[in-house]
């Protein structure tokens, strides 16, 4: 099925005289893993923040599953199926892994008032257990998240983004700062995720090796604009891309 699940049209954002994003458009198909790469300062993170409601773009639209969600607040976006992970500050450190996952799932279980009176686990026990198993976090389930290693926290972060069963998850440098032994874990979980749950992923990454192994398609940004896009194979041998990185 090649249905477009996320459409980004002409997003532009300037900070004073600095034009961080200058008219970026792209589409993401359901079930695909789209990698977003580009040299430092090319506007990747700003683009993400515009799409995800953290920043208000100067122009452009975001369309999720056919609905125009431009300018929506992050919490509203999460409720309609657009999730994200952050580069830094990922987890709720005073809560256990299990609690983190429950917290991530509960906004999708009814409004504020209902939540006041519901059972602590909201009938989500099974879902949470499944996620714990999928991410191999079983032995850490009752540990406060603040005590996990950085790599383990990253995994938890991704798991949390998934609890709400989002259609699209946008990941901001999931491989950043993760040591080599954990990196393979992260990579495998993402690939598995995409295959078994069919979740669409949009991934910003600097780690080329990582992204080429995970993505179906790559979008290359430079100086706030789309340079080119294609499969990992095409991108790797694209001279324009190499120049953008080396010339930067």
């Amino acid at each position: 099925m090649n249905e477009t699940v996320l459409q980004v049209e002409n997003i532009a954002k300037s900070f004073g005289p600095v034009q961080a994003v200058r008219g970026v458009s792209f589409e993401v198909n359901r079930g695909e893993v789209l990698g977003v790469i580009g040299p430092n300062g090319c506007g990747k993170t700003t683009l993400f923040n515009c799409v995800l409601g953290q920043i208000k773009p100067d122009a452009g639209r975001v369309i999720l599953k056919g609905t125009d969600v431009s300018g929506w607040q992050p919490s509203s976006l999460a409720k309609v199926g657009l999730g994200r992970t952050f580069q830094l500050l990922q987890v709720f450190h005073s809560m256990t892994v299990r609690e983190n996952l429950l917290a991530a799932a509960q906004p999708h279980r009814g409004g504020l008032a209902k939540q006041l009176f519901m059972r602590p686990d909201l009938g989500l026990k099974a879902d949470v257990e499944r996620m714990i198993t999928d991410f191999r976090l079983g032995h850490l389930a009752d540990t406060p998240a603040g005590l996990l290693s950085y790599g383990q926290q990253k995994l938890l972060d991704i798991a949390m983004a998934l609890m709400g069963k989002p259609d699209v998850v946008m990941l901001d440098e999931p491989a950043g700062g993760v040591n080599l032994s954990m990196l393979a874990d992260v990579r495998d979980r993402l690939v598995e995720l995409n295959k078994t749950r069919g979740t669409t992923l949009v991934v910003i990454e600097h780690n080329m090796e990582f992204i080429f192994e995970v993505a179906h398609r790559i979008l290359v940004l430079a100086e706030g604009q789309v340079l080119t896009s294609g499969t990992p194979g095409q991108i790797q041998s694209d001279s324009k891309v190499i120049e953008a990185y080396l010339g930067a």
Binding site: L52, Q73, P74, S75, S76, A78, K79, G83, R84, F86, L89, Q90, V91, F92, H93, S94, M95, T96, E99, L102, A103, A104, Q106, P107, H108, R109, L112, Q115, L116, F117, M118, R119, P120, L122, R136, L137, H139, L140, T143, P144, G146, L147, S149, Q152, L155, A161, G164, L180, S181, M182, A184, D185, R187, D188, M208, E209, F210, F212, E213, Q236
Partner: protein
């Protein structure tokens, strides 16, 4: 860009067990947060046993109280209960949602005046008046909180400050309605399905029951998904928002509920003293509630009890310091902020930490 591909996932990488104290030290989290993390790790049995024993003693003492106390003592404990309720409401706002309200006394006053006037002038039953007063005040809380929170969360404090002053101004000046500075006298004690609560002993148990109900309700709310959302907002608001948890909605609800609880305390307060006047609900009283909470320990269920105790009952026990008590209390506040900002209940955490570190 042709490097060897990543090695296959090493199953042991994510399987490392976690050493608590070492990990805590290495985590670089600040001490308050470490406290929260430790809370998660459970209480060592010794501490739990001691805590339960102390709690049991206190409960037994309270229940058997009337056999040992005369009227003055009974009323004093009732006052403690009423203050503890107000402060528990503040705890919900401050300890969990991080909002300082300086209007708790005003809401208490509103609860007291609204219920009293409904009973006296509209002939309603005390219980119906209670319901109406609390609902009205909760809504009022939501109304005040809404514009203030949309501006910036810190400003709620200033708005509540202004609100408290305005409310007491109205209470003082609208003589035709509120009796002005003289207040309202001869407030009758209510009856519960025919059982007259007019003796001090009966009202005493009524106050304790109300306090217990409020505490259970707050405990329940904190254990619910809503309470969990607060922990997330405290730990990492940006992440919480990105998961669908809205800071503004949750904070607003906490503020509305906390204000409602304060008004409930006011409803119970009125027949207790059988007399209400604006002076009891002025800004200094709100400031005192704040101090009670901080000294007792915010973010803990026990904090409000301890704080209220220090202001109502301890001064009685330490009669010999009567004149100087408030000055000593103020001194203690300053010392506490320097050495133990988490408050007295927070000392429990420090003990816990020491015991866990020894494991």
């Amino acid at each position: 860009m042709s490097q060897p591909s990543l090695q296959n996932s090493d199953p042991s990488a994510s399987q490392d067990p976690v050493q608590p104290s070492a990990a805590l030290e290495a985590s670089g989290l600040d001490s308050t947060v470490q406290g929260y993390v430790l809370q998660q790790m459970g209480t060592p049995p010794i501490l739990r046993g001691l805590g339960l024993a102390a709690l049991g003693l206190i409960v037994v003492g309270l229940v058997l109280g009337p056999t040992q106390m005369r009227n003055y003592g009974l009323v004093l404990v009732c006052l403690w209960a009423v203050y503890a309720m107000s402060v528990q409401g503040l705890n919900l706002m401050l300890g969990y949602a991080g909002q300082v309200s300086l209007a708790q006394a005003a809401f208490m006053g509103l609860g007291a005046y609204i219920s009293t006037l409904l009973v006296r002038d509209a002939g309603l039953s005390y219980w119906l008046a209670m319901l109406i007063a609390v609902v009205v005040c909760t809504l009022a809380g939501a109304l005040i909180g809404f514009p203030a929170l949309r501006v910036k969360t810190h400003y709620l404090t200033f708005v509540t400050l202004g609100f408290n002053i305005l409310i007491t101004l109205v209470l003082r000046n609208e003589q035709w309605l509120t009796g002005g500075t003289g207040g309202i006298q001869n407030i009758p004690r209510p009856s519960f399905f025919g059982l007259e609560l007019d003796t001090n002993v009966r009202y005493y148990y009524f106050c304790l029951i109300m306090l217990a109900l409020v505490t259970i309700a707050v405990w329940f709310m904190l254990r619910s998904p809503w309470g969990r959302a607060f922990k997330t907002l405290r730990d990492n608001p940006a992440r919480a928002e990105s998961l669908g948890i809205s800071v503004v909605s949750h904070t607003l609800l906490a503020f509305a509920l906390g204000s409602g609880i304060a008004s409930l305390a006011g409803v119970v307060y009125a027949p207790l003293i059988e007399y209400i006047e604006p002076a009891a609900f002025e800004l200094p009283r709100s400031l005192m509630f704040l101090l009670m909470l901080i000294v007792g320990g915010r973010g803990t269920l026990a904090g409000p009890f301890i704080g209220a105790f220090l202001v109502t009952i301890l001064p009685e026990w330490l009669r010999f310091t009567q004149e100087y008590y408030l000055a000593l209390f103020a001194l203690a506040v300053m010392a506490l902020m320097i050495f133990f900002p988490q408050g007295i209940a927070g000392l429990g955490d420090t003990l816990r930490r020491k015991l866990i570190a020894r494991r």
